[in-house]
C-alpha cells in the first residue's frame, strides 16, 4: 500500500507492506544512515525523529507514519557536522555504527532541554547503546555540542 509522509522536509510516497517496520522501509528507500542492531528494540541504532521525537524505527509500523514527519540524520546535516566536530576533537568516534542515531537523539535533546545536566544527558541517551567508546568521550563531546550556540 501507499503512504504519504514528509521525510527530511521532502514530501514522499512510499510503497509499504502493512506489516513492514519503518526501519526496513527506510533502508529499502536508501536511507542508509538508519541501521539495525537488534531484534527487540533494545539498542537504539535505528533511531529516527518522528514528529521531532526520537523513536526506534524498528518498532514503528510504516503505515503508522502516514502524513507524519520523519527526520533521519541526512535531514540535520549541519547539526551532525557540529557533533562530528566535537566527536573528532575528543576522539569519541570509533566504529560509528551508533553515531547517526546519537546525532538525532542529541539534537532532539538540545531542542527540548538546552541546559541538560550530566544525568539528564545520560538518561535521555540511555537507550542508545555504544559498545566501542566506553561512553566517556562521547559524553564530553555531547556536552560541548549542547553548549554550542552557533
Amino acid at each position: 500500500m501507499k503512504i504519504d509522509l514528509t521525510i527530511n522536509k521532502q514530501k514522499r510516497t512510499f510503497l509499504v507492506e502493512p506489516n513492514e517496520y519503518l526501519l526496513d522501509v527506510l533502508r529499502r528507500y536508501d536511507y542508509h544512515s538508519v541501521r539495525r542492531g537488534c531484534d527487540n528494540t533494545s539498542c537504539g541504532v535505528c533511531t529516527v525523529l518522528l514528529d521531532g521525537k526520537p523513536v526506534p524505527s524498528c518498532s514503528v509500523l510504516a503505515i503508522r507514519c502516514e502524513n507524519r514527519d520523519i527526520t533521519t540524520v541526512e535531514g540535520i546535516e549541519k547539526e551532525a557536522e557540529k557533533l562530528a566536530h566535537y566527536f573528532g576533537e575528543l576522539g569519541a568516534d570509533q566504529c560509528g555504527y551508533c553515531n547517526p542515531s546519537m546525532a538525532l537523539t542529541v539534537y532532539a535533546l538540545k531542542r527540548e532541554n538546552k541546559n541538560a545536566g550530566d544525568e539528564d544527558i545520560k538518561s535521555y541517551l540511555v537507550g542508545n547503546l555504544c559498545r566501542c567508546t566506553g561512553y566517556v568521550a562521547q559524553h564530553e563531546a555531547i556536552k560541548r555540542y549542547l553548549g554550542d550556540e552557533s
Partner: protein, 766 residues
C-alpha cells in the same frame, strides 16, 4: 613529530556521523536473495530427514540447502594464519547439529517474508542425542561430540576428538612441585570465567554478487578479509582468483568478526545461482550462533618465600570451546603467555590444560583473547597470597613484576599455537604505571576501605600485559603511490573495524612523508586492490601494519629524492626534502613536490612512483598497564557501584593519543561488563537464555561514572615512531581489580565472573 602523537581527528568521523553509505549492508544489491538459516532447537541431534517439499515450491523460494548439497570438506571458521592452529572440525552444513542455534539448513528466497514462511513449513525429524553441557565433564565423556572421521588438525595442537578434546597444551619451566614445597606461603584457588558476548552493534553481515568477469565479489563485515577469501575458496572449492572480498566500514568486531559467519552460505548461493545474495544475522543469531569468549576454569597455585618473593606459579586450566574449536588452542595459550610473564622472577612456572568440546555455542576470538581470563585468576590470586602473607599487594607487585630490560623464559617457549620468540622488554614502564595509578585513584587514602553508615567504599587494582602481533607469523603490507599534484594513495590490507587504524596508518605515512594527513588518501582491506595483511587481531595493526607503512613511506621518499636529483642534476646526497620542496643548499636549485609529481606524470621521463613494503615482527613487545577501580558497596544489598576506573598505560608512543584513549576506555568498559554486568545464563537443555540485549546486559551510559585513562612516556625502539599496541590491553584488568576491591570492602573473595551482589550475598552467608 608533527602528525604522530598529535591531536589528529579521525579521518572518517564526519562522513560516518552524517550517515553516508559505509557499512556492509549499505552495499548489498537491491535484488539480493535473502539467505536464512534454520537453527537447531536441540543441543545435540542427528538430522534424520528433512521434508521441504512445500517450502521449496513456494513462489519466491530459490532453493533450500541442506547438508546433502555440500561436499564434506572440513574447515575452521577461525580467521587465522595458515595453516590454522584451529582444528578443521566444521562443515558448511552437517548431518549433525551440535548446539542450540547450530545450522540445520538454509532457505534462500526473494524476500524476508517468503523465506520466513518457508522456514516455518519445513519439517525436520531429529534423532535427539544426549548432550555434553558441563565442560568439566566433557573430557573422556562417553558421549562424543565429534565422532566424524574427516575432521583433522593442520599440525599438532593436541587434537583428540575421540576424547572431546579440541586441543591441549602444557609447559613447565623449572620444577613447580619442588619449588612450591620449598615456599613459606602457598595459596591455591579455582576461578571461573563466563562466555562473554561481543555485542558489536553491527551484526554479522555479508552480501555477494557476480561481476561481469564472472568473479564473485563479497562484501563482508569482517576483521580478516584475506582469510575469508582463503577459507571460502577451500570450503567451496572456488579458485582463489575468482573471489574478491571487500571489507567496507565495520561496526565493531572485538574478535567476533575474526571468523567467517554467513560468508560460506552466501558465497555458495551467489556462485551457484549467479544471483546476488545477502545475509544479516539477527541479534539472537549473533548471541547464539556466532561465538563467544571461551569460558574457563583456572586453578592457580602461587608460592612465595618469607621475603616476599614470588617463587612459583602453577596454572591448570580448562577451556570450553563449545561445539567447534575456533581459536581453541591460541586463546588458551595466550591465557598463559600474555599473563604469566608479568611475574618474571619466579623459579618455576607451569601452565597446562585442555580445551574441550561441549554442546554449547562455540567460543572464539574476543579482545583480550585468553589474557583476561588468565589475568582475573592470576591477579586475584596475587591479592589472596598477599593477604595470607600480610603484605601490601602493591609492594608485592612492584617487587615481583616485570621491569624494563628484563625478560621471561615464557616468551621463548609459548607463542600462539607454536613456540614463541625470546625478547627483552626494551620498553616497560609498569612501575610508573602503578605509581601514577595509585595517585590518580587516591590509593593511600582509600585502601583498603572507607566505611560510612550504609556504604563501604574500597579500591582494588591489577596489572596486565598483552602483545603486539604474532612474531614471524603476522604479516602486514602497504603500498604507497605518489600522484600528480603531490598527494599520495596509501593502500593497506590492514583492517579498520572502528578502532581507527585507517587514521593511525595515515598518520604514520604522513609523518614520514612530512605532509598533512589530508594529502594521504587511504584505502584498506580489499583483496583485489590492497596488499596482503592478516587482518585486525592479536593487537597487530599499529605495530605490524604500521611498520609496513613506515617502511613503504621511507622507500617512496628515497625514490622521490632520486627523481629530484635527476631533475635538478645533482647528487642524491645533496637533495634536501621537507615534504613540500626538494632543494640543494649549494646551488639554490629547487623543485617543489607538486612540480616534480606533475613532471614525472605528464612531461619528462614519466613514471609511476609506487612502493610496496611488508613487515613481519621479530618480536611482540607487550604494552603494559595498571588498572585501579574504586567502588561503593551497599552494606545491605551488596549492590556495587563502580565510581571510578583509572588506567595507566604503557603502549609506547601513542600515534593518536585520542584514539588510543578511546581504545582503552572502550576496553575498560567491556572489561567491566565481563567483571560485573554480563551474566551468561543457560537453561537446563543448554539453551542460552541471555540471547538478547534485554537479558544480556552490557554497560550503559548510566553505569559508567568516571574513567581516567593516561599514558606514561615510553618508546619502543622496534615500533613505528616508538609505538606498541593498545587495542586489547585495556580489557584485561577490570575483573581482577573489581574482585580485589570487593575483597577489600567486605573480606569476601568472589572467584567466578561476573561479580554480582547475589554472589557476594551467598558468600557472606556462607
Amino acid at each position: 613529530m608533527k602528525v604522530v602523537n598529535n591531536k589528529t581527528k579521525s579521518i572518517d568521523g564526519l562522513g560516518i556521523m552524517k550517515g553516508r553509505k559505509a557499512y556492509t549492508d549499505d552495499y548489498a544489491e537491491k535484488d539480493s536473495l535473502i539467505v536464512k538459516v534454520l537453527r537447531s532447537p536441540h543441543p545435540f541431534a542427528r538430522i534424520v530427514s528433512i521434508d521441504d517439499s512445500v517450502a521449496r515450491n513456494l513462489e519466491g523460494i530459490e532453493m533450500v540447502l541442506t547438508h546433502k548439497d555440500f561436499k564434506r570438506i572440513p574447515f575452521t571458521r577461525a580467521g587465522q594464519g595458515y595453516p590454522e592452529p584451529s582444528p578443521h572440525d566444521k562443515f558448511v552444513l552437517d548431518e549433525y547439529v551440535r548446539y542450540i542455534g547450530d545450522e540445520v539448513l538454509a532457505v534462500v528466497g526473494i524476500n524476508e517474508t517468503v523465506v520466513e514462511k518457508a522456514l516455518g513449513l519445513i519439517k525436520v525429524e531429529y534423532e535427539v542425542l544426549e548432550p555434553v553441557l558441563d565442560f568439566e565433564n566433557a573430557k573422556d565423556n562417553e558421549i562424543l561430540i565429534h565422532p566424524e572421521e574427516e575432521i583433522h588438525e593442520m599440525f599438532d595442537i593436541g587434537f583428540k576428538p575421540k576424547r572431546n578434546i579440541a586441543a591441549s597444551y602444557g609447559m613447565e619451566i623449572g620444577d613447580v612441585k619442588k619449588t612450591l614445597e620449598s615456599c613459606d606461603y602457598v595459596i591455591k584457588e579455582t576461578f571461573y570465567t563466563q562466555a562473554q558476548a561481543h555485542v558489536m552493534l553491527e551484526p554479522h553481515t555479508v552480501n555477494a554478487r557476480m561481476d561481469y568477469q564472472n568473479r564473485i565479489i563479497i562484501y563482508s563485515a569482517t576483521q580478516t578479509p584475506f582469510h575469508v577469501r582463503r577459507i571460502i575458496s577451500q570450503g567451496l572449492e572456488i579458485p582463489l582468483s575468482k573471489i574478491r572480498v571487500i571489507k567496507p566500514r565495520v561496526g565493531g568486531g572485538f574478535g567476533g568478526k575474526q571468523a567467517i559467519h554467513g560468508e560460506m552460505l552466501v558465497a555458495y548461493v551467489t556462485y551457484k545461482t549467479g544471483k546476488s545474495a545477502k545475509m544479516i544475522y539477527t541479534r539472537k543469531e549473533v548471541f547464539e550462533s556466532s561465538y563467544s569468549r571461551h569460558p574457563m576454569r583456572l586453578e592457580m597455585t602461587l608460592g612465595a618465600d618469607k621475603n616476599g618473593v614470588l617463587k612459583a606459579i602453577n596454572c591448570e586450566a580448562l577451556s570450553d570451546t563449545g561445539a567447534y574449536g575456533e581459536h581453541a588452542l591460541t586463546v588458551f595459550m595466550v591465557t598463559g603467555s600474555k599473563v604469566l610473564p608479568l611475574y618474571n622472577k619466579v623459579e618455576a612456572v607451569r601452565f597446562v590444560g585442555d580445551i574441550v568440546y561441549t554442546n554449547h555455542t562455540p567460543a572464539g576470538a574476543f579482545r583480550g583473547y585468553g589474557a583476561i581470563q588468565g589475568n582475573f585468576a592470576l591477579e586475584s590470586a596475587v591479592d589472596i597470597l598477599c593477604q595470607k602473607m600480610n603484605v601490601n599487594p602493591i609492594d608485592f607487585r612492584k617487587k615481583n613484576m616485570m621491569k624494563e630490560k628484563e625478560t621471561s623464559p615464557i616468551f621463548e617457549i609459548m607463542g600462539e599455537g607454536t613456540a614463541g620468540t625470546a625478547m627483552i622488554m626494551e620498553s616497560c614502564k609498569l612501575d610508573e604505571c602503578v605509581d601514577k595509578g595509585m595517585d590518580l585513584i587516591g590509593w593511600k587514602e582509600k585502601y583498603p576501605r572507607v566505611e560510612t553508615k550504609d556504604k563501604i567504599k574500597s579500591v582494588g587494582m591489577a596489572i596486565a600485559m598483552q602483545g603486539s602481533g604474532i612474531p614471524y607469523i603476522d604479516m602486514g603490507s602497504a603500498t604507497i603511490k605518489l600522484n600528480d599534484d603531490g598527494f599520495y594513495n596509501l593502500m593497506v590490507g590492514a583492517t579498520e573495524i572502528g578502532q581507527g587504524s585507517d587514521t593511525v596508518l595515515t598518520q604514520i605515512a604522513a609523518e614520514e612523508l612530512m605532509t598533512e594527513v589530508e594529502k594521504v588518501v587511504i584505502y584498506s582491506s580489499d583483496t583485489d586492490l590492497t596488499p596482503f595483511d592478516v587482518g585486525a587481531y592479536a593487537s597487530s595493526t599499529t605495530y605490524v601494519s604500521g611498520n609496513a607503512v613506515l617502511k613503504a613511506a621511507k622507500e617512496l621518499k628515497n625514490q622521490m629524492i632520486i627523481e629530484a636529483a635527476r631533475i635538478l642534476s645533482i647528487d642524491v646526497e645533496r637533495v634536501n626534502f621537507d615534504g613540500k620542496e626538494f632543494w640543494d643548499e649549494e646551488s639554490d636549485k629547487m623543485i617543489s613536490l607538486v612540480d616534480l609529481s606533475n613532471q614525472i606524470t605528464y612531461s619528462h621521463e614519466q613514471k609511476q612512483l609506487q612502493v610496496t613494503s611488508s613487515y613481519v615482527g621479530h618480536k611482540s613487545p607487550p604494552p603494559f598497564m595498571a588498572g585501579f577501580v574504586e567502588i561503593e558497596i551497599d552494606k545491605e544489598t551488596f549492590e556495587i557501584d563502580i565510581l571510578h576506573y583509572v588506567s595507566v598505560v604503557d603502549c609506547g608512543t601513542t600515534i593518536n593519543p585520542m584514539l588510543a584513549k578511546g581504545q582503552v576506555d572502550g576496553a575498560i568498559v567491556q572489561g567491566l561488563g565481563m567483571a560485573h554486568f554480563e551474566d551468561v545464563k543457560y537453561a537446563k537443555n543448554g539453551k542460552l537464555i541471555t540471547n538478547d540485549l534485554l537479558n544480556y546486559k552490557i554497560p550503559t551510559r548510566l553505569d559508567i561514572k568516571k574513567l581516567t585513562t593516561v599514558f606514561v612516556d615510553s618508546y619502543e625502539e622496534s615500533g613505528p615512531f616508538g609505538a606498541k599496541s593498545v587495542g586489547e590491553i585495556g580489557i584485561d584488568t577490570p575483573p581482577a581489580a573489581l574482585a580485589n576491591a570487593v575483597f577489600n570492602a567486605l573480606g569476601v573473595r568472589i572467584t567466578s565472573l561476573p561479580i554480582t551482589s547475589e554472589k557476594i550475598f551467598r558468600e557472606i552467608r556462607r
